[in-house]
Amino acid sequence: MRTEPTRIRSLDDPEVLVQTPATIYDAVPPLTPRTEREAEFYTLGDGEMFVNLGPQHPSTHGVLRVVLKIDGERIVDLDPVLGYLHRGVEKICEHGDWHHAISNCDPLEYAASMFSEALPVLAAEKLLGLEVPRRAEHIRVLVWELNRIASHALFIGWLALDLGGLTPILYGFTERDEIVEMLAALTGQKLLFNYMRIGGVNGDLNHEFLSRLGDWMGRAGKHIDGQATLMNENEIFVNRTKGLGVIDRETALRLAMSGPPLRASGVPYDVRRAHPYSVYPELEFDVPVRSEGDSYARYLLHIEEIKQSLRIIDQVLQRMPDGPVMAKLPRLLRVPPGRAYIALESPRGQYAAYAISDGTDQPFRFRIHDPSFFNLQAVGLLTPGHLVADIMAIMASLDPIMGGIDK
């Protein structure tokens, strides 16, 4: 007598899956909790349930996954799960030479990659003790500030989109598109520019960039004001964001936050002023600070910063000296052994790198400090007790970029 071979239901065997009647999902055997905190979080109380927000959710700004424990609409607790975008950038940087590190760091902060690609450049220059040509320094500040405006314009649109407004994101993208077009004329790329070089920048300013820049500068201030009027006085927008997600000064410092979220809590810390680099000490600009520490303050701060960036661009263009844009360097760059810590002010806060060189042409260790990661930690403190709708407003106002958080 012939017997049917017994089959074990498995994902590798499609035939079995097709013939098995669809049932309600088999319960996934729970993993044994690794920490006390996990055990506490993954135990449901009375009337509570888990909602999985992400990694493919429209408003988590990338691939952040947050497991929410909710009671009705109210958030009881949350567990952020990171690592969906982990590429091991730090390790990859150790395997290429210093020049490769520039393009490897590019996609860390993909909304403003002029900042993250400057990390290995500044670190190598500090280790080499290199004098960068004045014109190159001015061009760097110019593209940094342009990129800051592009990033902030996007932030305003994202915040509105997460609150349900359809129009501001398009206005933000209009602004960003103009800047990105002019940077593309300069660098050849629209997103990951790969423009910084150890000892200068890749290519001098060209005619198309300058004509686009001049064209845009004439109406930039008006555009930003127009975009702000759509939201600043909007009753619904102000009600949704005012008093929401308040971080006080001490908590912000304790969480090692930086950038606009820190300055909105009343700490006037800006790396451009606190630890000056490049030509920033010679330029006139204010560090806008607000004391409220809520989402609305963070939004207003971004608009203020756009105006300050416009001011800096004006000055840089007027002071732009003549000369080369690259220092003279050997083709095979051997960086002297030593350690260097550099920091710069990205649109999201203090972007820093700690590099160790062993004297070869490759970095021995390249550690990256990403501000989004530290700013995002505040979500865990701010959201419990709020409604599900508020987690979007809080997260969008902290402006995280997952490329840098997961590295």
């Binding site: 669809a22 349930m49 408003s59 349900g164 927008f237 009600n239 949704r240 599900v388 979007m392």
Partner: protein, 463 residues
């Protein structure tokens, strides 16, 4: 055991409904053929016609319901196109411009696309409830249209308690949303369904209480009578006697239709698509359509109650009477009385008009040549005649004028809904509830008391 051994089990739910209907149709056809062959067909037919005559009310209701159901489809297409285009203008985009002139057919193509998509039922859902939910939502929306007067005498169903019927049937939609949210086996759907229920129930109260002022003034719940009470020029509209009620009603209607800024039932940035998360194909299409039909219906009700319904801005009947063209219908019907010579005029109008316009076109644009000018002249003449006839028909038939005014005002309000969607962010759930209970309820109650008091005082003074 092949999978074909039990076909009934493998049918989808819609298949299980359609198959018996097809069988019934086949049986009916066979039965009729047999009747005719036997020879008693005509008598049976006469009997059926008599039965229909005796039950004309039911037949009229069925015809009206079908007409209203058919009307909602093009109306939804127009609103979807308006939404695409108006929001595009607000966003500094071009918007749809590929299919049809200025992209006018793109919403129709969207509808066809939804029809062609796979109608997927995920495992774990409560199948009967999941299948019925879109139908409940859509029918609740469509059936409310029955009592809305589109023009003088153009009601789907004349009902003395029309307004009460409207709110009663419109309230059924919530059950459909909750069914969808509960049966989907998805937490986002559950949240969306419960949000919809909570929001709509708390906004039904200000919606109905806001209307009470108008009902007190009109003294009736019959929507046709309410519109007739507002005839005359536009200051007779209830919007000018009940401005507070209009504002309350409009805000509550926005929440009732779950439109921005109150669209948290399907907030894409929070709960993906709310109750519609697990739906695909035409079932999702029903939710999608029901939303736009709801927008139209609530605009239509606002127009009916507050903005004069099918009444124009001014009453031009006296003017038409004075000019002497008050009864152009009789004139047109009496054309034979003009005599043989004068009757030639309408026949000669077209050639004379064509030749005149051709000459004009040729003089203005001599490079075109005579033949092209003739064609252009012919088209222009036809357009002129059709335009003139349309204007004549508009002024001759009250129903045509009424429906033009009614649809014009309704779609203007729809445009306002769309503009609001492009402008506002979303209100949070608890803020919306607080607004409904703390501000709109007291305002609506105040409106009722003030209106009732004013009516009493006016009656005292008059009587």
């Amino acid at each position: 055991m092949s999978s074909l051994s039990d076909p009934w089990k493998h049918l989808s739910t819609s298949g299980k409904i359609i198959l018996p209907l097809v069988a019934l149709l086949v049986l009916g056809t066979v039965a009729l053929t047999v009747l005719w062959v036997v020879g008693i067909g005509p008598q049976v037919m006469q009997g059926l016609l008599d039965t229909a005559g005796a039950n004309i009310g039911i037949l009229r209701f069925l015809a009206a319901a079908t007409g209203v159901l058919l009307f909602t489809v093009p109306a939804a297409f127009v609103i979807i196109f308006m939404e695409l285009k108006i929001i595009a203008f607000m966003n500094l985009r071009i918007g749809p411009n590929r299919i049809g002139p200025w992209g006018t057919l793109s919403s129709t193509i969207h509808g066809l696309k939804v029809l062609a998509k796979e109608d997927y039922t995920p495992s774990g859902v409560d199948v009967p409830v999941f299948t019925l939910a879109p139908a409940v939502v859509y029918l609740a929306a469509v059936l409310t249209l029955l009592v809305i007067p589109f023009g003088p005498g153009m009601l789907g169903y004349e009902m003395e308690l029309g307004l009460l019927y409207f709110f009663a049937v419109g309230g059924l939609g919530v059950i459909g949303l909750m069914m969808a949210g509960w049966s989907s086996f998805n937490k986002y759907s559950l949240l969306g369904g419960l949000r919809a229920a909570a929001a709509i129930i708390s906004y039904e109260l200000p919606l109905i209480l806001g209307v009470m002022g108008v009902v007190l003034l009109a003294g009736t719940l019959n929507l046709g009578t309410i519109v007739e009470n507002q005839s005359g020029w536009f200051l007779n509209w209830y919007a000018f006697q009940q401005p507070l009620a209009l504002i309350i009603f409009f805000i509550a209607a926005t929440a009732e239709a779950s439109r921005t800024p109150f669209d948290f039932t399907e907030a894409d940035s929070e709960i993906v698509a709310g109750f519609a998360t697990e739906y695909s194909g035409m079932r999702f299409g029903f939710f999608f359509f029901a939303e736009y039909v709801n927008v139209f219906i609530l605009s239509a009700l606002t127009v009916t109650l507050f903005l004069g319904g099918w009444n124009g801005l001014f009453d031009i009947d006296p003017l038409l009477e004075a000019v002497g063209i008050a009864t152009p219908v009789s004139l047109s019907l009496d054309i034979a009385s003009l005599g043989p010579w004068l009757m030639a005029i309408p026949v000669l109008v077209l050639p004379i008009l064509v030749m005149g316009l051709t000459a004009l076109v040729w003089m203005v644009k001599s490079s075109w040549g005579f033949l092209v000018s003739l064609i252009v002249g012919f088209v222009l003449a036809n357009l002129l005649i059709v335009g003139a006839l349309s204007i004549w028909a508009l002024f001759s038939f009250d129903a045509l004028m009424g429906i033009t005014w009614f649809l014009g005002k309704s779609f203007a309000l729809v445009a306002l809904f769309v503009l609001m969607r492009a402008t506002f962010p979303r209100v949070r759930m608890d803020q919306l509830m607080g607004f409904a209970w703390k501000w709109m309820m007291p305002a609506a109650l105040l409106n009722i008391f003030v209106t009732a008091g004013a009516i009493l005082i006016v009656k005292e003074l008059a009587g």
